[in-house]
Amino acid sequence: MNSYLYDGTADGLLSAISWILEEEADPEKVTLSERKDTLFEEGFTISTDAPRAESLFFRLKQHAPDAAHTLYSFMLAEKGEMETSLLHYVSLAFRHGDQVKGYLTHPAIRDIVNVAKKAGRELHRMKGLLRFEKLQDGAYLAKMEPDCNIIHPLAYHFSRRLRAQHWFLYDVKRRTAARWNNGSLQFGTIEQFTTPALSEDEKKVQALWQAFFKTISIPDRKNPRLQKSNMPMKYWKYLVEKQGE
């Protein structure tokens, strides 16, 4: 059984998979892991080749769009130690096409699909739970701390939705930001973040939302457990309606 190593980057991972699929007779028999340069590490290191990584993704997208989408979501989760499963998944996806996602009795497929699902779920959740605040200069800012690295697809979602506004998304832990202004979307990192001043009416609007949030709930039916399972507490930090409770 052959073992391979790569440099730990996303491009490195995909170029390694691409290389193995071409060179190995039975890719489902080999392992792939991140190179840590430890004493007992064994394996052949595959070098990173960004265009090759990209081309693998596009070939998969043509062959099995659903499976490519799963791969994309899986990468958002930034999950380590699952490289071998991913390799087997991609190999099976080229073999079976999109039907592969139904092959849940296969452990590698189940693992990859589950992680991808988790990332997809968080992305969907954040489309609802993200909160913008209006700043003094009229722009809007939303801060977040998601588990997965979803700022790209999330910003794309809002670029179709809040088109007439000037807005920013900021991933506090990763220090990455997205900006939408006049029809163009940009991404970058922010090293020193200082919270800008809010617009004058911001607190008033927030108070209205808090009032609505309170009265829309049926008083004799409090169900904090159901609320928390639908809306885990880790997301409450930036929720206007959950402040000062």
């Binding site: 079976h96 039907q99 996602k101 139904g102 092959y103 849940l104 009795t105 296969h106 189940r110 969907h124 489309k127 609802g128 739970l129 993200l130 909160r131 913008f132 605040e133 209006k134 809007y140 939303a142 809002f158 179709r160 939705r161 809040l162 088109r163 007439a164 506004q165 029809g183 609007v205 108070a207 209205l208 939302w209 009032a211 609505f212 949030f213 309170k214 009265t215 829309i216 709930s217 049926i218 039916r221 409090k222 169900n223 904090p224 457990r225 159901l226 609320q227 639908n230 809306m231 929720l239 206007v240 309606e241």
Partner: protein
């Protein structure tokens, strides 16, 4: 009265409406405006009662001239009254939407002055949002029974979903409990909406730019337990609404007494279990290929208290089981108690690769707690074969897969339609 005080009264009065869905419509936002809609719908928060908040759900006014026995807003009940101006509703919607609090607006109202007067003001809100403000988000509007068909048509052009509450399951009950509302004033707009939706779909096939009419469809709501109709009557009514009027959804709300009135039954508790069973039966109608006549009959017109309607059907039809999961087609799998749409799809997808064993079923995430009495897997069964329905019934009731308590399905936390 300031906007916040109004908001408290008029969202408090709207909270008992069952529907909050923001799904079923897909609109690209106008480039100079605000908002779009997505097919799957998005929840923006969950209230303290655990229900999803997706729309700014409010009444335009709770100042009602009607006197429906079951409703807090009826004219003879001394509650504080409030009415929004159109501008207030528009500003709230936009400010909330820009901050991503909501998917859009759900606007209903009590009857102010007259049905036409009320509907006109509601339509004006939607019209201003769509045209002047270029709002592309979701709008759900209630139709006030008795308003002109011109206003119904206009509402459908601006809203994603429109709905007319049927209120009570029969004309006799309507006459007794909501004497100012007439059956034809409810059914006529429903039929009109159904026709307009169908026409618009046809026209849009020919021309992409033909106007859309309520693209997310039409829904309705009825109160359960305030009047004497049985479950069979109710299910047949729903079946008719789905088939003949093209409804997307029928919502049921267990009657909760808000005041003593000798026209209303005295209930110890709202019939939540019954409401729950009706929702389950409704699912069987819409997604599982069952008919009302398969679920109930004139001889047995009530849904089983202890079993969900699918299990009850299965126990009456032992000849249908056991089902071999490796061979049964999708429709047959759906008839197995405990196997839902997701599980049935997973089974169909997984057996392409290799026959499914009982262990394999668990691996793909199919819960067999209840299903195990009704299936075999590659010829094997995890239960003794040939159990009689009586035995299965007992085992299910003993907790081995039976339902012991009413699960708190979020959409059931519903009180009567407190408004038109």
């Amino acid at each position: 009265m300031d906007t916040k005080a109004k908001l408290q009264i008029l969202s408090g009065a709207a909270r008992y409406d069952a529907s909050c869905a923001s799904s079923g419509s897909r609109r690209e936002g106008p480039s100079s405006g605000t908002g779009n809609t997505s097919t799957s719908g998005i929840c923006h928060s969950w209230a303290d009662d655990g229900r999803c908040i997706s729309l700014l759900k409010i009444l335009l006014s709770n100042d009602c001239i009607y006197d429906c026995a079951y409703c807090v807003n009826r004219s003879t009940n001394p509650v504080e009254r409030a009415s929004f101006t159109a501008r207030e509703v528009i500003d709230l919607t936009l400010e909330f939407y820009r901050r991503n609090y909501i998917e859009g607006l759900f606007l209903s109202s009590a009857v102010m002055q007259s049905p036409d007067h009320t509907m006109e003001r509601m339509v004006r809100v939607a019209e201003t949002l769509r045209t002047e403000e270029q709002f592309g988000g979701y709008i759900h509007m209630k139709i006030i029974p008795g308003c002109s068909s011109e206003l119904v048509r206009k509402a459908g052009l601006y809203a994603d979903r429109i709905s007319v509450n049927i209120e009570l399951p029969s004309q006799a009950s309507l006459q007794r409990l909501a004497p100012q509302k007439h059956k034809h004033a409810i059914l006529e707009p429903m039929a009109l909406i159904g026709r307009e939706i169908a026409t618009s779909l046809v026209e849009r096939k020919v021309c992409r730019h033909a106007p859309r009419f309520a693209p997310a469809g039409q829904s309705t709501q009825m109160i359960i337990g305030a009047s004497p109709e049985n479950d069979f009557q109710i299910l047949r009514l729903s079946q008719g609404l789905y088939k003949k009027m093209n409804l997307k959804r029928v919502y049921y709300s267990a009657y909760v007494p808000v005041t003593a009135d000798n026209r209303l039954p005295a209930l110890a508790a709202p019939p939540l279990r019954r409401e729950h069973r009706l929702y389950q039966a409704d699912w069987l109608l819409r997604f599982y290929g069952f008919s009302a006549e398969e679920i109930l009959s004139d001889e047995a017109p009530h849904l089983d208290e202890s079993f969900d309607p699918k299990t009850a059907w299965a126990l009456r039809h032992p000849e249908f089981f056991p089902v071999e999961v490796n061979r049964a087609d999708y429709a047959t799998l759906l008839r197995v108690p405990g196997i839902g749409v997701v599980s049935a799809k997973r089974i169909v997808a997984a057996r392409r690769f290799s026959p499914i064993t009982p262990e394999g079923l668990k691996k793909i995430g199919v819960v067999i707690k209840r299903a195990k009495y009704f299936i075999i897997c590659s010829g094997r069964s995890s239960e003794k074969p040939d159990q009689s329905p009586t035995v299965i019934r007992q085992r299910l009731l003993l907790g081995a897969g039976g339902e012991t308590a009413v699960s708190a399905h979020p959409e059931q936390l519903v009180l009567p339609g407190l408004f038109a």
